[in-house]
């Protein structure tokens, strides 16, 4: 096995880039080589320059984003800055961070055909090629559908098919999992891996959901921080090195657990997946001891989280009774987005809402806030029937952070955006400024406070919307996918703050696809599927019920697998122990 390495397809050396508007470079001195047939994952904190790096490779820099670049960059032997965009695109196909804007056709088939149409391929030749690409991407049965009828995950597949139809060598994927439910996320990773292995595509992938990506093998992980590459190594080596934590990235949970147990995993043990990692006797013993000895701490942590006891007797914040919502989608047609959902949410509770893509989670939040009219049932907010309340009236009691940050941000500047709602509520200047400063700090936005929103990264924008609702201090807070696209360091910061406001009496509802988030922060979750309430249980119960988890497209985390491997029958005890250790570690080193 001493063949020469395949030639580099993408090559950056000493590459730096500074956006026109910035006073300092966003990318510093990047050295990166991607060879034919490799699969490389890029991770890094939000705002560390991952999307910018992809833009440099696919030529959007400088053809779409202006700024100054230095150093050398070669894609397929050519400098993307010097050839037209399409020429680079013939080598490297891009699936953008926002797959909705990539969907330009009126139907799936048309969108996949887009590139062929531009190359003036005769109409008669197109259907065969479309079908092949669609089958590869696993969307072959939806060719006649329009974008509005597809879920987030399906749109992602269309975007992949639209790139594959061209026989590109490299696929650049920017956060393809951001809004996918756990099962679709796995499916997407499997799809990408098939393309890599069976169709020998080179893959360059940016993603925050490291554990999900590692569900299938990658060749290397590139770790970015502050616009620099701080590590570029095979996954095993990087996971064992502890570098990820130091740069604000959460390693897969089982890796972190082994470290907390005092028996960190070594690179040669193949730590990427908890199911096929080599564990030695000492490690297993260490984990068992760690779980056993930490029983008290874990129990204490459980009490801290939301304080489940006595919830039943507390005054209700939200009461849903047989709530139903039909959304009209055309003449004489409507979809049933919510069907007879009943639940009671007590004041001061922290509650999770889980379920597949399109299960009706966002719709539930929208009905509570009055964005969508309930077509049946009853909703009480703070014990009072909310029927007939205006949006503004509901908004005074219930704060809602939407899934899509662009739909909330209306002011040019970060600070003004936060102050907007405060002003509409008629708060005094001093009070407003105090609250604004506080939430800026919590959401990690202080350095950007006078920046225009247009210069923020995707994750930073989402934090602006969270900050602007937190500042209003509502009785009930609903957050739709607050951690999507966020790095670990930032999300623990505002999640811990959320827990603080929760202990102070605010009711918090978290809509999320992140199972571990639900386990760590909530004592109770509602599981939706096809608009129906499947379960109203403790998150651990939900995860350990295979039938329920499958129906709701949930996937157990690596911790459960680790527990099984260590012969701990009650997987949840390990999870609790982990959460407690996690919290303790954070308190020591904030």
């Amino acid at each position: 096995m001493t063949t020469a390495p395949p030639p580099p397809l993408i090559e950056l050396s000493g590459y730096s880039f500074q956006y026109r508007a910035q006073s300092a470079p966003t990318l510093h001195d990047i050295d990166l080589v991607v060879r034919r047939g490799e699969k490389v994952l890029i991770v890094g904190a939000s705002g560390s320059g991952k999307s910018t790096l992809l833009s440099a490779i696919n030529g959007l820099i400088p053809h779409h984003h202006r700024g100054t670049a230095s150093g050398t960059l070669r894609v397929g032997g050519k400098d993307p800055a010097e050839v037209p965009l399409v020429e680079t695109a013939r080598v490297a196909g891009t699936v953008l961070q926002d797959s909705n804007s990539q969907f330009v056709g009126l139907t799936v088939a048309e969108d996949i055909a887009f590139s062929l149409e531009n190359q003036q391929v005769p109409s008669a030749e197109m259907p065969a090629r479309i079908e092949r690409a669609a089958a590869l991407a696993g969307i072959g049965d939806r060719l006649a559908d329009s974008p509005h009828d597809l879920s987030g995950g399906q749109k992602q597949r269309v975007a992949v098919a639209g790139v594959l139809v061209d026989d590109v060598e490299v696929l650049l994927l920017d956060e393809p999992l951001a809004n996918l439910d756990p099962a679709s996320g796995r499916a997407a990773i499997e799809l990408i891996d098939d393309l890599h292995r069976d169709h020998s595509r080179t893959i360059l992938l940016v993603e925050h959901r490291l554990e999900d990506v590692l569900h299938r093998d990658v060749d290397r992980i590139v770790l970015m921080d502050g616009g620099r590459i701080v590590a570029d190594a095979p996954p095993a080596q990087l996971l064992a090195s502890g570098l990820l934590e130091r740069h604000g990235i959460r390693p897969p949970l089982h890796v972190a657990a082994l470290r907390y147990a005092g028996a960190p995993v070594r690179a040669e043990q193949r730590p990427a997946r908890s199911a096929d990692m080599d564990l030695d006797e000492d490690q297993i013993a260490a984990v068992r001891r760690w779980v056993r000895d930490g029983g008290d701490a874990a129990a204490a942590a459980a009490d801290g989280a939301g304080g489940a006891d006595g919830v039943g007797e507390r005054a209700p914040a939200l009461e849903l009774e047989q709530l139903r919502c039909e959304i009209p989608v055309g003449p004489e047609r409507s979809t049933l987005a919510l069907a007879e959902v009943s639940a009671r949410i007590a004041r001061g509770e922290m509650l999770g809402v889980l379920g597949s893509n399109g299960a009706g989670k966002s719709t539930l939040a929208r009905v509570i806030c009055g964005f969508e009219r309930a077509t049946g049932g009853r909703l009480r907010i703070g014990g009072v029937d909310a029927h007939g309340w205006s949006l503004t009236e509901r908004g005074e009691r219930v704060g809602f952070v939407l899934q899509e940050p662009g739909q909330m941000i209306s002011q040019p500047q970060v600070t003004e955006e936060i102050a907007l709602g405060l002003r509409a509520r008629g708060l005094g200047r001093e009070e407003s400024e105090g609250r604004t400063a506080a939430v800026l700090e919590i959401c990690g936005l202080r350095p950007f406070r006078s920046w225009p929103v247009s210069a923020l990264s995707h994750g930073q924008r989402k934090r602006v919307t969270i900050a602007s609702v937190l500042a209003l201090e509502p009785e009930v807070l609903i957050l739709d996918e607050p951690t999507a696209g966020q790095d670990f360091a930032h999300y623990t910061e505002f999640m811990d703050f959320l827990r603080q406001v929760n202990t102070a009496g605010t009711t918090v509802v978290l809509i999320t696809h992140d199972m571990h988030l639900a386990l760590e922060y909530t004592e109770r979750v509602l599981v939706l599927s096809g608009g129906r309430l499947l379960a109203d249980e403790h998150p651990a119960v939900v995860l350990t019920d295979p039938g329920l988890a499958a129906r709701a497209d949930l996937v157990t985390t690596g911790l459960h697998e680790l527990a099984r491997r260590c012969g701990i029958t009650e997987g949840h005890t390990l999870v609790r122990r982990f959460v407690a250790a996690d919290r303790a570690a954070r308190e020591v080193a904030p």
């Binding site: 508007a21 040019p412 350095p447 006078s450 225009p452 247009s454 210069a455």
Partner: protein, 184 residues
């Protein structure tokens, strides 16, 4: 100086601009105290497009958007659709040189914008639309003039007020070269 947009961006701006024009024109009518007249905010948006993307984009976005509104509502009425296009065209031509994209929005620009909007509205609603009605549809001249004058007044006021507001905010979202750094 004006940014020149690539032809692809222009095509997209026409398409999405027309969609925006359609949605605002079709669903967002703010009633006024005067019966049967509502504030048409889509012309303010068209003026903003004219400033940012140039006369051609605004003209075509206005034309397509208005044709779509009419094709799904009142039936094609060519003279008024043309007038929408001409409005975008004239505003764009009069404001070809501007530095809004660089974040510059001063009194001088505000004055120029207002003047351009008044002129463009005059051409569209006092000239093109009524003349077209008389020529194509043989409508009585005094009726179409009164209609045109009414449209002129309401559209001028909304386009000038709303357009300026939007542009002033937009200008502040634009950043000057090298202006951003982390603050402590």
């Amino acid at each position: 100086m004006t940014r020149t947009h690539s032809p692809v961006t222009q095509v997209v701006a026409i398409g999405i601009g027309a969609a925006l024009f359609f949605v605002l024109g079709r669903f967002v009518a703010i009633p006024t105290p005067i019966p049967n007249t509502s504030i048409n905010i889509q012309y303010a948006i068209l003026a903003v497009f004219a400033v940012l993307y140039g006369p051609l984009v605004a003209a075509l976005a206005g034309l397509i958007g208005h044709v779509l509104i009419d094709a799904t509502g009142y039936g094609i009425w060519i003279s008024w659709e043309l007038a929408s296009g001409v409005f975008g065209l004239v505003v764009g031509l009069l404001l070809l040189r501007n530095a809004i994209a660089e974040g510059e929005f001063g009194r001088a620009f505000a004055a120029r914008f207002t003047l351009a909007v008044v002129l463009a509205n005059a051409v569209a609603w006092l000239l093109i639309a009524p003349a077209g009605d008389v020529l194509f549809y043989s409508e009585p001249a005094n009726k179409v003039w009164v209609q045109g004058a009414l449209a002129f007044v309401t559209n001028t006021v909304t386009a000038a007020v709303l357009g300026l507001l939007v542009l002033s905010v937009y200008a502040r979202t634009r950043t000057r070269t090298g202006s951003l750094s982390h603050e402590q």
